[in-house]
């Protein structure tokens, strides 16, 4: 399938100084789930605001389904859906009324509107909630309704800004299922932002790691993880006067070893990327012990997206 979103050098500068988005170029294919992975304040939402026509780029451009965000905003509005990070609903009305309200702004009316509203209520299993005031809903039900309102116009592309922010794990898994179903059954292209690694790992085909308004790495999720190779051995050292020296010394000794693929300093010590974690662990211990280096802890884990993030940004995303 072809490319449906292509952004080139999107930049947003606020008040002439603050660069919220600093030259983002990204390409999303029709039918995929694409993710922006990055911490809060990294420019994910601002990029979304430009792509969904809410905000004009300071410079740069993007083409969405053949339409230019700088010229054809009205055309783009018809074919996209946008789910925001906040509540995004009229709390003083019922769920059904909220859906109708959005439907009418898309100029859907009469029988067609009723049909679409019923369809969405059924799809998101909101039957028992639809006629209650939204203010009485739980967070999970609200989010389901909110996503439903952004689908009223049968969009080709759905933008989900932090879809499961602040929701508990059960609700998140449930929302992931809906997202995947929308993508698979109806072929909706989904572009989401998240700072949850599991979410990016579970849902996305491709993702872009974004930090301080820039994309630091783009790629297929599996490929990105493979790039990290095998396992991660995390060493931490006691925070005393020898801390920096220990890190430097260990790095020097270990760099020559054949099992080592990569090595990165962390806040508390070192991360060693190795092929075979289980058999390497004793070797590492022996080498360090032989050189008189004391470690505080040693742990072994499979490489995750967090390590991908760490490798490319020097920071951990985990919150």
């Amino acid at each position: 399938m072809g490319e449906i979103i292509r952004a080139e050098n999107l930049t947003k500068v606020y008040s002439g100084k603050f660069k919220a988005v600093d030259g983002i170029s990204v390409s999303v294919n029709e039918g995929e789930i694409f993710g922006f992975l990055g911490p809060n304040g990294s420019g994910k939402t601002t990029t979304f605001r430009m792509l969904t026509t809410l905000s004009k780029p300071t410079s740069g451009s993007a083409i969405i389904a053949g339409y230019d965000i700088n010229k054809d905003a009205r055309k783009i509005k018809q074919i996209i859906g946008y789910s925001c990070q906040q509540v995004g609903l009229d709390l003083k009305s019922t769920g059904r009324y909220n859906l109708q309200l959005f439907g009418r702004y898309y100029h859907v009316a009469g029988k067609e509107l009723k049909k679409r509203v019923d369809e969405l209520i059924e799809l998101f299993e909101l039957e028992s909630h639809a006629d209650r005031l939204v203010g009485t809903y739980s967070g999970g039900i609200r989010k389901k309704l909110e996503i439903a309102t952004s689908l009223i116009n049968r969009p080709r592309i759905l933008f989900l800004d932090e879809p499961t922010l602040g929701l508990d794990i059960k609700v998140r898994v449930n929302l992931w299922d809906y997202t995947q179903e929308l993508n698979k059954k109806d072929g909706v292209t989904i572009f989401l932002t998240t700072h949850y690694l599991e979410e990016a790992e579970k849902l996305c085909n491709n993702l872009a790691i974004i930090e301080s308004g820039r994309i630091v790495k783009t790629g297929n999720v599996e490929e990105l993880k493979n790039e990290i190779h095998g396992d991660v051995v995390s060493l931490t050292f006691f925070k005393n006067e020898k801390f920096a020296e220990c890190i430097e010394h260990s790095r020097q000794i270990l760099s020559g070893e054949s099992f080592l693929m990569d090595i990165k300093a962390t806040e508390k010590g070192l991360n060693l990327y190795v092929k075979e974690g289980a058999s390497t662990l004793p070797k590492i211990l022996k080498i360090l012990d032989g050189c008189g280096i004391t470690i505080e802890t040693i742990s072994l884990a499979k490489a995750s997206l967090d390590d991908v993030f760490l490798k490319h940004t020097g920071n951990r995303i985990s919150v």
Binding site: K56, S93, Y105
Partner: protein
């Protein structure tokens, strides 16, 4: 066509939310009654003051109470938009193809409905207290027209302020700061004839004064068409200005 449907959709939403809150309906209708009774008693002897061209103070006071209602209800008209901004609802509306000006006009029209109900309450209660509407039912409709224009102007400014600051607080602070001076720099409660020159000059720039004047002519029935022309011009300009600045702020706030 879609422009009108966007207006009616917005109008419907705001009207619903007002009707769904009975406390607001009750208080907004009780407030003009309360003012009418309070000021009516307090200033009863004012009919002897030069400049009150009627022997019945209620006829003089009722138009003043009407503009006070407009001021108090429209000054805070921007607050609903602040809620919609912080809840993310406004962004979601703006992603739809709906017309932006329709959001502003629809919400202004909705506040006109409750305002009209309040004005009718004043007319009803004041009639019981001795007001005689010299220009009859046509005068009541014309009153709605002038009051509506004033409300568009003030609510428009309030919305613009709310949109520019994205915060309810400045709306409350500035709103309550300007309300009283605007009332006393007009002939709403006291005839301006006896006021110092500078107040009379200031009143010439006060849209409240133009509304009070026009409505008072309608109530007392002593105005000629020429007396209405300045009010029509000033208030129409003020209403257009209000809607324009709110729309402009709306466009700016959403970029």
């Amino acid at each position: 066509m879609t422009f009108l449907s966007d207006i009616s959709n917005t109008f419907g939403r705001f009207l619903r939310s007002e009707i769904r809150t009975p406390q607001i309906v009750i208080f907004s209708l009780a407030q003009p009654l309360f003012w009418l009774l309070l000021f009516g008693q307090l200033f009863e002897k004012m009919v002897n003051v030069p400049g009150i061209s009627t022997s019945n103070y209620i006829s003089f006071l009722a138009p003043g109470v009407m503009v006070m209602i407009v001021l108090y209800s429209s000054t805070y008209g921007g607050m609903s938009i602040v809620d919609d901004i912080s809840s993310g609802l406004l962004d979601k509306f703006l992603v739809t193809p709906a017309n932006r000006t329709a959001f502003v006009i629809g919400s202004l029209l909705a506040s006109l409905v409750s305002l009209s109900a309040q004005i009718l309450v004043v007319f009803g209660a004041a009639s019981l207290m001795g007001l005689e509407m010299e220009t009859g039912i046509a005068g009541v409709f014309l009153t709605m027209f002038f009051v509506g224009l004033l409300s568009f102007g003030i609510a428009g400014l309030s919305k613009a302020l709310a949109l520019a600051t994205k915060n309810a607080q400045p709306v409350v602070i500035i709103g309550s700061f300007v309300t009283m001076p605007l009332i006393f720099l007009s002939g709403a409660l006291m005839p301006l004839e006896t006021a110092p020159d500078w107040i009379q000059t200031a009143a010439k720039f006060n849209p409240i004064e133009y509304t009070v004047k026009a409505v008072r002519y309608l109530v007392i029935g002593n105005g000629s068409l020429n007396d209405f022309i300045p009010s029509i011009l000033v208030l129409t300009a003020f209403a257009v200005f209000g809607v324009a600045i709110a729309t402009l702020a709306f466009r700016k706030a959403t970029n």
